[in-house]
């Protein structure tokens, strides 16, 4: 019977040697950074928009609205990362009281937030 469960021990062993938890960077940095840059680019398009651009988009300067919303989402991600950082790299991946903050509640919150935010544009 012990042979049946050998694979489970192997997974446990590999999980102990795993480097992902300690070494993988924070994805919020990437999303935040890219969205800040995208926001700025789209805002430039918004502030230099021609009448034809506005007319094409049913009479709204959609670049301006989207630009501000994308920028806001980017900044929110960077702020979230600042407020609740991952545990320091190299630390033993043991659950610490400060870690659970990046749980799902905050995650979905930001997700839907971005959705409705841009939707108003």
């Amino acid at each position: 019977m012990s042979e049946e469960y050998e694979y489970r021990h192997e997974v446990e062993e590999l999980a102990e040697r795993s480097a992902t938890a300690a070494r993988l960077f924070d994805v919020r940095r990437i999303i935040g950074g890219l969205f800040v840059v995208y926001g700025i680019i789209v805002l430039i398009a918004g502030y230099t928009a021609s009448d034809a651009d506005v007319k094409k988009a049913s009479g709204i300067n959609i670049n301006l609205w989207t630009g501000w919303c994308v920028l806001a989402v980017g900044l929110l991600f960077l702020l979230w990362m600042k407020l609740r950082p991952l545990s320091a790299p190299g630390a033993v991946p043991k659950p610490e009281p400060s870690r659970p903050g990046n749980g799902p509640g905050a995650g979905t919150g930001t997700g839907t937030g971005s959705g409705t935010g841009t939707g108003e544009g």
Binding site: M1, E4, Y7, R8, V11, E12, L14, A15, R17, S18, A19, T20, A21, R23, L24, V27, I30, I31, L34, F35, Y38, I41, V42, I44, A45, A49, A52, D53, V54, K56, A57, S58, G59, I60, I62, N63, W65, T66, G67, C69, V70, V73, P95, E96, P97, R99, P100, G101, N102, G103, P104, G105, A106, G107, T108, G111, T112, G115, T118, G121
Partner: protein, 556 residues
């Protein structure tokens, strides 16, 4: 054959290309940055089982939100109308909730590394090998479909030759998965999810404004297509004709039960995201967190499909030269100025790459772990399998490029995908669900159930339906029926074979069957997991209620 109209060429400028090139650079950067975290094969194939739930949850929904899904569902919206919401509210949410609440403890708790591996421990090598081979072949086919579709869209929108698009996208996917493994696939999926929102939300807003908001949309569609076109259930009585070619029974049983549960609960490209979560609680929450965005996605996918029908009532007809699949590209070219247009193009390309990456990252795991390691090269070092995984990734991408041409035989790409899923996932789901809840189900039963269910669906679809032996009004309707046939045949064969074969000893099934627990100490929950809004039951039931509430405005 699927050709986009010449007139869809987008007026892209340097600004748009800056946005696109930035995205490609970041995608590759994620791959290089994630490389440092890959030390063992578990890191490469399952991110070391250490990601937080919101990351795996968004990756779970993004892995499904490939461009084929987006273009296909917008196409279904334009072709079938509001019926398309069934693919989300009946055809996804219940299955996602079931995966999180009922099935995930078996998957994650038993510490299997892939969906086929569960079959190995529950049944035995024959069904394991069969399922692994079917999955590997299907993944490469679907990756090929994805690439081919992308090449056509990119050619029409940007004017790139098809081979350029195939090579560029293929090589980027190859590079970032080979470098960073599943972590880099998942991180790019999360990023892609937000880029797609940034692409589709402005498109929907501008489109709605053009045609007078939701009220204008509804009035125009009722005037041109009748009231059933904007209703979810109108005209779906058994025997009454509707564009979908299905009735409420085949919608609920075929789409809502067989196809949907098959896809969401046993498709490893999805389940893999949950298996990479950092503990059982996070794994259970993965599909539940994904369910909330999934409920709302029709707003930015199906609605644009409907808008395109109002703006160009001749879409889908020969005269216009526009296919239903062109719905979203059409809106992009008609409504979006430069800037946002760049975001939209980037979102579309991001969706194509992520859809393919999900297939490739699950294919490399199953091929390396469940075929190569289990049956060809056993007992080698972990480093050997890590290297094999990287090589298999490259082979999978190249094979996907080679199979891209298969997609060309169906006019509606979604039909093709749904067809594949109805054949490959439904019998698998049947074998899983019986195996999880019926201790006595035997090893030969698993194998024959899987094989006969798959063959039955193939026979029903390609022989009985395509050759007009039985009459079903549409391809979609035939898919729903094929899925039901696959499930019923698989189940009946399993029960019959079980009665004549010897069951596995109960001790060998601990943690794999309902009512047993995995040996060893259960992992302790992370602090904070007890918070009420993180409890799987609360999340799951809220998602179900939300989906039911969404039906109300379309059923009255």
């Amino acid at each position: 054959m699927h050709y986009l109209a010449e007139g869809l060429r987008l007026p892209t400028n340097a600004l748009d290309y800056t946005i696109l090139i930035l995205y490609f650079a970041v995608v590759l950067g994620v791959g290089f940055a994630a490389r440092a975290s890959v030390k063992t094969s578990l890191d490469f194939f399952l991110s070391g089982r250490s990601l937080p739930a919101w990351v795996t949850g968004l990756a779970f929904v993004a892995a499904n939100l490939g461009a084929l899904e987006i273009l296909g569902m917008a196409a279904n919206g334009a072709q079938y109308g509001v019926y398309t919401v069934h693919w989300y509210w009946v055809g996804a949410i219940p299955a996602m909730v079931f995966l999180g609440l009922v099935m995930m403890p078996f998957y994650y708790g038993s510490k299997v590394r892939s969906v086929p591996e569960f079959l190995l421990h529950r049944y035995g090598p024959s069904s394991h090998l069969l399922s692994s081979i079917i999955f590997s072949v299907a993944s490469v086919l679907i990756a090929g479909v994805n690439l081919y579709a992308m090449a056509i869209v990119v050619e029409a929108l940007l004017g790139w030759p098809q081979w350029v698009a195939i090579v560029v996208a293929g090589l980027f996917v190859l590079a970032y998965i080979t470098l960073g493994g599943l972590s880099s696939a998942i991180y790019n999926e999360v990023l892609q999810f937000f880029v797609i929102l940034a692409a589709l939300i402005p498109l929907t807003v501008v489109g709605l404004r053009r045609i007078g908001g939701f009220g204008g949309l509804k009035d125009s569609l009722v005037a041109s297509h009748g009231p059933n076109f904007v209703s979810a259930w109108g005209g779906t009585g058994i025997g009454s004709a509707n564009p979908l070619g299905a009735n409420w029974l085949t919608i609920v049983l075929g789409l809502g039960f067989c196809l949907s549960f098959g896809y969401w609960t046993t498709n490893f490209a999805e389940v893999q995201r949950a298996l990479s979560a950092r503990n059982l609680s996070a794994a259970r929450r993965t599909p539940l967190i994904a369910a909330f965005p999934k409920v709302l996605i029709p707003l930015i996918v199906v609605v644009p499909g409907l808008i395109s029908l109002v703006l160009r009532p001749d879409i889908g007809s020969k005269k216009s030269g526009l296919q239903y699949n062109d719905a979203i590209p059409l809106l992009m070219s008609e409504l979006l100025p430069n800037g946002v247009l760049g975001l939209a193009v980037t979102g579309l390309l991001a969706a194509f790459m992520a859809g393919m990456a999900a297939n490739v990252s699950s294919f490399n795991t199953v091929f390396t772990h469940d075929i190569w390691r289990a049956y060809i090269q056993r007992n080698r070092s972990d480093g050997y399998y890590l290297l094999t995984g990287r090589v298999v990734t490259a082979i999978g991408v190249l094979a996907g490029m080679g199979t891209a041409f298969i997609a060309s035989s169906f006019s509606n790409i979604m039909n093709y995908l749904q067809t594949l899923f109805s054949f490959f996932n439904v019998p698998l789901f049947c074998v899983f669900i019986i195996g999880m809840f019926w201790r006595r189900a035997t090893a030969p039963a698993g194998f024959w159930g899987l094989l006969c269910g798959t063959l039955a669906a193939l026979i029903n679809y390609f022989w009985l339906y395509r050759a007009d032996v039985i009459s079903i009004p549409s391809d979609q309707g035939a898919n729903f029926v094929s899925a039901i046939v696959a499930f019923v045949v698989g189940g009946v064969v399993m029960i019959a074979v079980t009665l004549f074969t010897k069951p596995k000893p109960v001790e060998s099934l601990a943690g794999l069957v309902y009512g047993t627990t995995a040996p060893g100490v259960a992992e302790p929950p992370a602090p904070g997991d007890e918070a009420w809004y993180r409890r799987p039951a609360v999340l799951g039931w809220s998602a179900l209620i939300l989906a039911a509430v969404c039906y109300i405005p379309f059923s009255l």
